[in-house]
């Protein structure tokens, strides 16, 4: 299987040799919404970068802001949402760009795949035509040659009898095949960055393994970067070079994947790892993170009310993100260099 790199001079990078140069730099990102009780800040002061050919895993539970972060990279934050800070991609700041600039970038330089392809695809249009549409809009291909290219793409993502499947409607495909078709659509214009929002959560483990394989394979072929969002640390450990853990709209820990798993430093990251039932080890009682994400203090560290290490300073001031060890960033008063 091979995706041709026509018209682009980025040589395929070996996946491990990441972080040559940053493709994406997110600085002080904020996303907020107007509500009756004032502005709700769903993402605050978020910083991260993704190198060329690198995979960043963003991990957190429902409501941590990981999906809004991804949507802001696509210019798709819902109406009423305000995005502040900087999203630097290819030398320019995307935050202030016009709707027209977003349209030319979206799907071409940055593409996104979602948890449930059924909601992301048009139910009354065949799979082949939907993929072809991306190519006619962005690359100016004719309808016929775009359709032929769509069939090639379906084949490249491992869909059997791609010629017939291109003429099927989304509901006629199985969940795994739909996810493959959506990946084909996202990769139609060879994006530099693929944003994947829980793409395997709705799938069986065997199909999940196939989709993870597919993403790795396409990344090796094309050298694209990936931002992979999930609530499952085990899934992201299979793919990511680097991991950013989010809690209540903020980044709490950011480090290479092996550091996160070998030496997690933030109490929330430690809790998330400990709370996962391990298929290789039986324990009497699973670790439980007390409290709930829904109750957040107004000041100080957002995690303080659920943290066993919390003291006065945690309730008083917000901990800054510090480089505690080489290339290992943590926002916690109790973890210091």
């Amino acid at each position: 299987m091979e995706l041709q790199m026509a018209g682009r001079d980025t040589a395929p990078l070996p996946a491990a040799a990441a972080t040559v140069g940053s493709l994406l730099e997110v600085r002080d990102l904020g996303v907020s919404f107007a509500t009756k009780e004032g502005r709700a800040q769903v993402v605050t002061g978020l910083n991260y970068s993704i190198g060329e050919g690198e995979t960043l895993g963003i991990v957190g539970e429902s409501g941590c802001g990981k999906t809004m972060t991804s949507l802001s990279l696509m210019g798709l934050v819902p109406p009423g949402g305000r995005v502040t800070g900087e999203i630097r991609f290819g030398g320019r700041n995307l935050v202030d760009q016009s709707a027209r600039d977003w349209r030319s970038l979206r799907g071409r330089d940055i593409a996104m795949i979602f948890q449930e392809p059924m909601t992301a695809m048009n139910p009354v249009m065949t799979v082949g035509r939907q993929i072809a549409e991306v190519l006619t809009v962005h690359e100016g291909l004719s309808t016929a040659s775009a359709f032929d290219r769509a069939v090639e793409l379906l084949e490249a993502v491992g869909i059997p009898s791609p010629n017939q499947r291109a003429r099927d409607y989304p509901h006629q495909l199985s969940g795994g095949m739909r996810q493959r078709a959506m990946i084909a659509m996202a990769l139609a214009c060879k994006p530099k960055l693929l944003v994947a929002d829980e793409p395997t959560t709705a799938l069986d483990v065997t199909i999940q393994a196939q989709i993870l394989d597919l993403i790795l394979e396409l990344q090796e072929d094309t050298g694209m970067s990936v931002q992979f969002i999930t609530h499952n640390l085990a899934v992201v450990s299979e793919l990511a070079h680097r991991i950013l853990v989010m809690y209540a709209g903020r980044g709490v820990e950011n480090a290479p994947a092996e550091k996160i798993f070998d030496n997690p430093l933030h109490p929330y990251t430690r809790g998330l790892i400990a709370t996962l039932p391990d298929p290789d080890r039986k324990v009497d009682q699973l670790f439980v993170i007390p409290g709930s994400l829904r109750i957040q203090p107004q000041r100080g560290c957002r995690f303080a009310s659920r943290c066993s290490l919390a003291s006065e300073i945690c309730a008083a001031t917000e901990p800054p993100m510090l480089e505690v060890e080489t290339d290992h960033f943590v926002a916690c008063h109790k973890v210091t260099p």
Binding site: D213, L216, S237, L276, D278
Partner: protein, 314 residues
Amino acid sequence: MKPLLEINDVSIHFGMRGGLFQAGPTLRAVDNVSLSMNKGETLAIVGESGSGKSTLGYAVAGLRPPTKGSIQINPARPHSSGRDPVQIIFQDPFSALDPRMTVETIVAEPLRLAGVDLSNRRMRVTEVLEQVGMPADAAHRYPHQFSGGQRQRLAIARALIGDPELIVADEPLSALDVSIQSRILNLMGDIREKLGISYFFISHDFGVVRHLADRVAVLYLGRIMEVADADDIFATPSHPYTQALLAAVPRIGRGRRLRGSALKGEIPTPLNPPSGCVFHTRCPRATAICSTERPELLPAPGRSGQLSACHHKD
């Protein structure tokens, strides 16, 4: 002593719609399944979507009669009418609770249908709410006022109120966030300990199964591929399908995955299952015999308690 649950050669078939003068095809959701479980034991049923695990669970809960074979429950103690020894909890705690009823009405409904009077019902509601770790004042509130994890607690309370011996749990954790999952899992463990309840636990998550199950049955296209004590399934899986499922579970601390280890293909349609061993179309070990002869469920070499339906089992 008789086992609590005996599933004897059960098949569940669905007739699909055909043409005007022709019968439709038959969907074999469950095919010649025999299982038994003892009192206090937790049996996990594992398999992909379309393996028939939920259909089997519904039959155990009495919600769907088997087409062939029998399901027998042997309660250890007498159950007055309406107090069914078997109860069920579902995957989605949002759709399982009627949004227009108060928690008290929802949780007490099995008793109301059995004709238990109001004051006794109320007493019992307070008791089971406490057992699932919910405050007593929850009784007068509505389902939408609770989070997903709390609603799953309410569903468990409703299952407990009739004092059952067996609870069929159909993927009770998959709709919950990871940090909530571990709480419900601990709760289910505590309840089993205190009340001596057995779980018929349907799941696709091996981490959860490892934690809760005493025995595990692996289902594929309606048939049992392997059944054994949980310790044996995890330590020495015998069937190639069990091995593939276990290998596909993402794990922390292995580093980035090695590409190409994933099981190929998808589960075929139960309308037209493969001949011989139903797994042979995806099996890395399949040979000629696998497509012609259905393997029997027999002990794995040297392990009499571990049954595996495979011509080339480990």
